[in-house]
Symmetry: C2
Subunit: 406 residues, 2 copies
Amino acid sequence: MEIDIERLTGRLQQLAQCGALDGGGVSRIALSEADKQGRDLVVSWMRELGLEVSIDQLGNVIATRAGTVHAQPILIGSHIDTVATGGNYDGNLGVLAGLEVIACLNDAGIETERAIAVGFFTNEEGVRYTPDMMGSMTHQGHLDIQQMLDTIGFDGSHLGQQLEQIGYAGQLECGSQRVHSFLELHIEQGPVLEQQGITIGVVEGVQGISWSQIDISGVSNHAGTTPMHLRRDAGYVAMAIATFVRELALKMGGDQVATVGSIELKPNLINVIANSASISVDLRNTDQQLLHCAEQQLAAYIKKIAASEKVQINCKELVRFAPVDFDPQLLNLVEQTALAQGHSVLRMPSGAGHDAQSFAPNCPTAMIFVPSVAGISHNITEHTETADIEAGANVLLRVVLQLASG
Amino acid sequence: MEIDIERLTGRLQQLAQCGALDGGGVSRIALSEADKQGRDLVVSWMRELGLEVSIDQLGNVIATRAGTVHAQPILIGSHIDTVATGGNYDGNLGVLAGLEVIACLNDAGIETERAIAVGFFTNEEGVRYTPDMMGSMTHQGHLDIQQMLDTIGFDGSHLGQQLEQIGYAGQLECGSQRVHSFLELHIEQGPVLEQQGITIGVVEGVQGISWSQIDISGVSNHAGTTPMHLRRDAGYVAMAIATFVRELALKMGGDQVATVGSIELKPNLINVIANSASISVDLRNTDQQLLHCAEQQLAAYIKKIAASEKVQINCKELVRFAPVDFDPQLLNLVEQTALAQGHSVLRMPSGAGHDAQSFAPNCPTAMIFVPSVAGISHNITEHTETADIEAGANVLLRVVLQLASG
């Protein structure tokens, strides 16, 4: 039994029409009209496949194929919302590959012991409403449902009202539903698999994330008339911190990554020493201890440079997620299954957040990565080769079959 | 004979009313209505002092007090235009101290051998029309008059038409008028004199300026999923160049200064590696060889980092002024005069451009600096203590007297 790649890619293409952008890519921001269209389409497929569709208070949709024994289902899931200029695979692949697994079982007339469910979770991207991974995090009891429903978006919209408007304010309580296990097939969104020529990534966990904003106050002065030793140059300090952060990641090695992706100087003029500078620092590591160590080294450097350059530095933590580990046994099952199907396999961390991390504390959870061409995602040129989609979906199918009868 | 400090500060205050900003400071941008008011006021003072006022094609105003012999005049001058949120001293002090010198001579009934003239030059600041120092540069034959009259401003205005509108499109040919010598009293616009507790700066020359824009093209990628060694991070490269430039200035020492005052990253997001970055680099030195050496070291570093980080780097020269040396004999005269009056004196470079540099290639030229409180200028809080203004104006008076009878 194998998945039908044409049916799967056909569904991916059909879903990509909901919110399609001229010139390619898709804009299907959470709870928008395009999101409603996408949801309606996926739900219609769920019904065609004979699944029992449930919609919870936060608009999370879970469709279940009954098993022969009464037990918690195996859940395959991801999300179908996108960033403003997103691609066709991020999230969608995990949901539609789940439906393809169901379709295969239906076609083959196979009953499983355990029930198998396919779900998509509201607002994974966090573009319109904060935080991201909202649906799955609330579903797994990490966030408060009422607080989420009361969220006001960046566009001023009220999340609860918006859910009602698109018809996805369900009746089912959202907050602590448990499942037997959770599986998510996803594109890598990075360049590692492609660079190494590997088809299947066995995702061991999600990197911990530490985001901070660093605001520096110096003194504005004339770039010509102010000797170097009399400067209190906020811009220089910001850029020195950025280069320190880079060197820190290289020195630490391993999974440590560090990025300064945004900077703002004031007055930002060619011949004026900046009196104010802000940068963001994004630190990630799969190891909680090492991530903490990186944060401490950054803090020590900031203290040192504030004194030596006579500037004020203010640090604000924006986001702090501890690293998440997926289930070792389930990872072994994914790895053995992929190898048995003749695929090259790499154990790797995920550098991005995913719905799977909401489930990891509560049930055996695993993720399967397939390569992203040029490592590009969150972009209209996001692409994954059909052969890789097929490989990933077949690994998912085989893993589900083993779990459902095990 | 001494200058009348109350008359001088009174005129400074009156001129500051033309274009006065609520809350202090002044906005008297070149050829604006406020500039017309300021010009009219200064010209009325020139006429009251019995001077012969000339206005050239570019609106430069020179008012002459005849001497007893027929010879080129000693010219005292500066500018009265300001930046958008400027102070009361930058430029104005040099012009009004010149009028105060004339008033002293008139009061004392002193005739001089050489004629003495006081002038103000159009568009020194270069805020509305490029280039800065336009009036003096054209007056001394370094720029083409027709090209300047045809200049279109950042606000879309035509310089020649604007001159006519404010009534300062004169008849006198502008382009190569020669004078015996040129003197400019100016606020330092930097912190050096105040920091060292010195009253009179003897300005040996103007730093050469090298401005460039550096555009870096990398590849945008996810800050979490892209390992450090696979990045082509335009933002990092921009900030590494900025820190290199700073270290270069410290290593070179002497008068070398270096500033990266502006930066722009794209997309400038916390969790996205920048694919594009632009920075400005401002390098200055009083020594042409050393400035060239700084430029070469920057170019070598850029070449190296472009290769190691696999980014494209494009450098564009925006401005390149060679250093200007003022006249050694005239500098000695200023220094000896200041010392004779009991003032502390420092020989120093100017880090900013001034009208005096237009004259330096054509005639003996010198500048006198007085301290700027906290080194601040081009700002509504720009301030110079009255005692320092008085000291500077008295040095100017004594130097002029010696030149005019020498």
